[in-house]
Symmetry: C2
Subunit: 465 residues, 2 copies
C-alpha cells in the first residue's frame, strides 16, 4: 500500500467507521451466528499477492459486522459499557501511526510524560487523594485492564509482605488475601497467577447490599493470624460487577492499616463517575488505599484498553516488577519513569493519546453531563420496575446498574432474558444474587438516550407476559 | 465531536499520519529532550469545554513529535524493529471504531473466529508444526507481547507440573526452570510473577555463539533432580536479544521430553522470518515444543501489540488460566473458544484485524521479499565491518542483527555509540557480550533501504576515528 493509497483508503476507513457508528443502532445488538459460521466464510490461506483494499473493506461488511456484538449500540445494556468516543478513536489512530514503543522513557519521552501528565489530570478530575499523583511518592500508569491492575497490586503487596524476598525465592505459602465473593474474578485469577492460590483467598461475608462486612473481615484476619498465616492484601470493590455493591472503604481501610495489609480498591466501572463532583462520595476512604484503579475504557468514552491504575508508593510497585537487563539500560535509567517497571509486559503502546484526545476534545463538562444522564435514566428505569408488580429488584439500584428478576421465579426470568436478547432489540446479561437469577441492565452508552431505555423496558415488560 | 466532525477530523488525522510517515526520515531518530521537558509544556488541568481539534493536532506537532524516538524511521536500528505497515494502521482504526470486546466468543464471534483463523494462517505461513493449529489439540492466540506469552507458558507449565494443584494451594517452592543468561528478561520476570522466584531459574551455560549448551542443561537437570527439586520448564530462544543466538531446539527438546519438562520457544523477533521458505530451518525441533511465540509486531509490519502465541495442548493453557464467574457464563461456554481463558487479562481488543489487513493487503510475497532484503543488507553491513580492521564482531552476525565493537576497547565503543546517536542520523543500542560492550545494529525497518544502511555504516566509520 503506497502512501497515496494509504491516504485514500484511510479516508475510506474513517468514513466506514463513521457510517458504522451512525448506523449501529439499526443492527440486532447481538449476532445470531453459530460457532464456526465466521470461519466457514474465510479462505484457508492468505493471498500471495496483495488484495485490493476495497475487497477487504467489503469483507468487513459481509463477514465481520454480521458476527459482532454491537457494544457501541445505544441498545447495549450488557456486561459494562464500553463507550467509545470519536476523539478516542482518533487518538488510537495516531498511536498506531506513530508506532512508538513506550517501554522506557528514552524510547519515546513524550509517550511516558504525557501518560504521567494525563494520569495526574485524572487524580484532579476524579478528586482522588494527592498520594496517587506523581508529585507525591505515588503515581499513575495505564494498564490494559483492571485485571492487570489487580495483578500488579497483588505482586506489589506480596513483595512488600515478604520483605522483598518473594521475587528471589518464591512464595512462602503462608500469605492470605481477603475480598468478598462479589469481587471481580480477576482477584482470584491474580492470586492464582502470583502463586498464592485460590485456597488462600478468604471470601469475607457481605451485608444485605452485597457489600463487605468489616466486622467479618476483622474476624477472618484474627483467625488467620492465630493460625500463623500472613495476611497481606485486601481488595475492596467500589461497584461490584453483579450488583454495583460498594464495599465500605473507610472501615476496611482502618482494619487494613492496623494489620499492615495492602488495600487495593477496584473501581473498574464506577470510579470514573466521580468526575461529577456530586459523586465524589465514591472516593470516601481512598486516602487509606495503597492502590486504586478505574477504567476510562468502560464509562468515560475511551476505547479499550485504558485502565488507569494508581499507587501511593511507586517504589513498592517498581520494586516488585523491575528487572534491568543490560540492553534496556539508558542514560536516564533511575532518573525518569520507565513504565515497563509498572506493568507485566515490557512493550507498551502510546495509550495516553486517546485519553488526552478524549478529555480535550470532549471537555470535562460534557463527560460529567453524560454520567449524570445515565444516572437519571437508571433512576427512571428503577422507578418503572418498582411500579410493576411482576418485577423485583435483586439488589439496591446503584449508579448505572439495575438487577431485575420476575417474582414468578428463576425459570421465568431466565426465559425472559433469552427471549428479549433473541429479538436483537437490546442486549442484557445475567447474574445470580443470593441464589436468585437476575437480569443486569447497565446504562452507560455514549449515545443511549431516554427512548432507548424506554424501549428496553417496554421489551422486557411486554415479554414478561 | 459530531459524526460529521469525526469524518472531517478523521480525514485530517489520516493525512497527518501519512505526512508523518512520509517525513519521518527527516527527523533526528532520537529526541534531545530532557526529563520533564514535555510535561513543562502541558497545562495543569484539562479544559472544561471542548477544545478545537485543530489545536490538539497542532500540539502533536509542537509537543509530542519533537519528543519521540522515531521507531518508524528508516534510520532506526535500535532494540528491535517495530515496522508498522499502512494496512495494519487501518486495521487498528477499524478495531477502535468497532469498540467490541472479544473476551468471550459470545461477546463478538467474529473477533474470536477471525483470530483463530489468522493464527492458523500463521501456522501455515511460517511452516510451524500442525500441533499448533486449532485443528489439532492446540491453537494460537494473540497476546500483547512475548513477555505475556512467556508468562502464560510458565503458568501452564507450572500447573501441569503440579498436577493442577498450584492454582488452588499456591506454589510448592520446589519447581525449577531453565534458560540461558541470554534469554529475554521476561523469563525471569515471569518466574517472579508466578511466585517461583529468580533463585529457581537455572542459567544454563552457553557455547561460543551464546546458544544453550544441551549437555549443560542435562547436567543441571540431573543435579536438581538429585537435590529433590522439580524441574518443570525450559525456555529456549530462537534469536536472543543481545546477539540473535539460536538455542539448539532439537537437542533441548529431546532432553525436555525425557524429563517431562514443558518446552517454551521464544522466537519473538526472529520467528516471523520463517515466512521465507528459505528460512524454515529456524523451526527445526519445534515439533518438540509445548508452546511457541513470535511477534508480527516486530518484523512483520503489524503495529504493536500483536504477539502470536501457540500451544500444543490448549487444555493445559486454559486449565491454568480459566475462571468462570456466573456473569461470564454464556450458552456457548465450553462449545467455542473464549480467549479470556488464554491470557492474563479478561478484556481484549479486536487485534486480529490488523494482522488480517496486513497479510491480505501486503500479500505474503512482499513480506517474504522484505525479510530477504533485510537479510541481504545485514550481510552487506557485516562484510563492511569485517573489512574494517578497527571493528570486530562480538558474535556471529545472524539474520538481521550485527553486534560490533571497536578493537580499541569498551570505552571507545561506548563513546562511538554515544556520538553516533547524538547526531540523530541513526539510532543504535548496546549490549554486553562476554564482558565486552557492543553496538547492536538491527535492520528491520519497512522503509529501510541500502542507502540507509550505507549511511549508518558511514556514520560509525567516520566517528570511529
Amino acid at each position: 500500500m503506497t502512501p497515496e493509497e494509504f491516504r485514500r483508503h484511510g479516508h475510506a476507513v474513517v468514513d466506514w467507521v463513521a457510517d458504522y457508528l451512525d448506523h449501529v443502532e439499526r443492527y440486532p445488538v447481538s449476532s445470531k451466528v453459530r460457532p464456526g459460521d465466521v470461519r466457514a466464510q474465510l479462505p484457508a490461506r492468505p493471498p500471495s499477492s496483495p488484495e485490493p483494499f476495497e475487497i477487504v473493506l467489503a469483507d468487513l461488511d459481509r463477514i465481520v459486522v454480521p458476527a459482532l456484538t454491537h457494544w457501541q449500540s445505544p441498545n447495549f445494556f450488557a456486561y459494562f459499557p464500553a463507550n467509545v468516543s470519536p476523539p478516542s478513536i482518533l487518538g488510537e489512530l495516531v498511536s498506531a501511526g506513530l508506532g512508538v514503543n513506550g517501554m522506557l522513557w528514552a524510547t519515546s519521552p513524550a509517550c511516558t510524560e504525557l501518560e504521567t501528565h494525563v494520569l495526574d489530570w485524572m487524580v484532579d478530575l476524579l478528586g482522588l487523594p494527592d498520594r496517587f499523583s506523581s508529585a507525591s511518592s505515588g503515581g499513575g500508569v495505564i494498564q490494559d485492564s483492571a485485571s492487570s491492575a489487580t495483578l500488579c497490586a497483588i505482586l506489589a503487596a506480596r513483595e512488600r509482605a515478604s520483605g522483598g524476598t518473594t521475587n528471589r525465592t518464591g512464595t512462602t505459602g503462608r500469605l492470605v488475601a481477603y475480598a468478598t465473593a462479589q469481587a471481580h474474578s480477576s482477584v482470584e485469577k491474580g492470586l492464582r497467577i502470583a502463586g498464592i492460590g485460590s485456597d488462600n483467598l478468604r471470601l469475607v461475608d457481605v451485608d444485605d447490599s452485597y457489600a463487605m462486612d468489616p466486622a467479618a473481615l476483622a474476624r477472618a484476619l484474627e483467625c488467620d493470624v492465630a493460625d500463623g498465616r500472613v495476611p497481606f492484601l485486601v481488595v475492596a470493590t467500589t461497584g461490584t460487577t453483579s450488583s454495583m455493591a460498594l464495599d465500605p472503604i473507610p472501615a476496611i481501610g482502618a482494619i487494613a492499616r492496623s494489620h499492615g495489609l495492602w488495600l487495593h480498591v477496584d473501581a473498574a466501572m464506577a470510579g470514573v463517575a466521580a468526575i461529577d463532583p456530586a459523586l465524589r462520595w465514591l472516593n470516601v476512604g481512598l486516602e487509606l488505599a495503597d492502590s486504586y484503579c478505574t477504567n476510562p475504557h468502560k464509562w468515560l468514552g475511551v476505547n479499550f484498553d485504558c485502565d488507569t491504575f494508581f499507587v501511593a508508593d511507586r517504589e513498592a510497585l517498581t520494586g516488585a516488577l523491575s528487572i534491568l537487563p543490560e540492553y534496556l539500560r539508558t542514560a536516564e535509567t533511575g532518573q525518569a519513569i520507565d513504565y515497563r517497571d509498572w506493568q507485566v509486559p515490557l512493550g507498551r503502546r502510546f495509550r495516553a493519546l486517546k485519553l488526552w484526545f478524549t478529555l480535550r476534545c470532549t471537555g470535562v463538562a460534557d463527560l460529567q453531563a453524560m454520567i449524570r444522564r445515565h444516572l437519571a435514566l437508571t433512576e427512571e428505569l428503577t422507578a418503572w420496575a418498582r411500579e410493576d408488580g411482576r418485577f423485583e429488584l435483586l439488589a439496591p439500584a446503584r449508579l448505572n446498574l439495575v438487577v431485575l428478576a420476575l417474582r414468578a421465579g428463576d425459570d421465568a426470568t431466565r426465559e425472559l432474558l433469552a427471549r428479549a436478547n433473541a429479538t436483537g432489540r437490546a442486549l442484557f446479561t445475567h447474574t445470580v444474587l443470593g441464589g436468585r437469577y437476575g437480569i443486569r441492565i447497565c446504562i452507560g452508552g455514549r449515545t443511549t438516550e431516554r427512548r432507548h431505555v424506554q424501549a428496553a423496558w417496554s421489551l422486557l415488560s411486554e415479554l414478561a407476559g
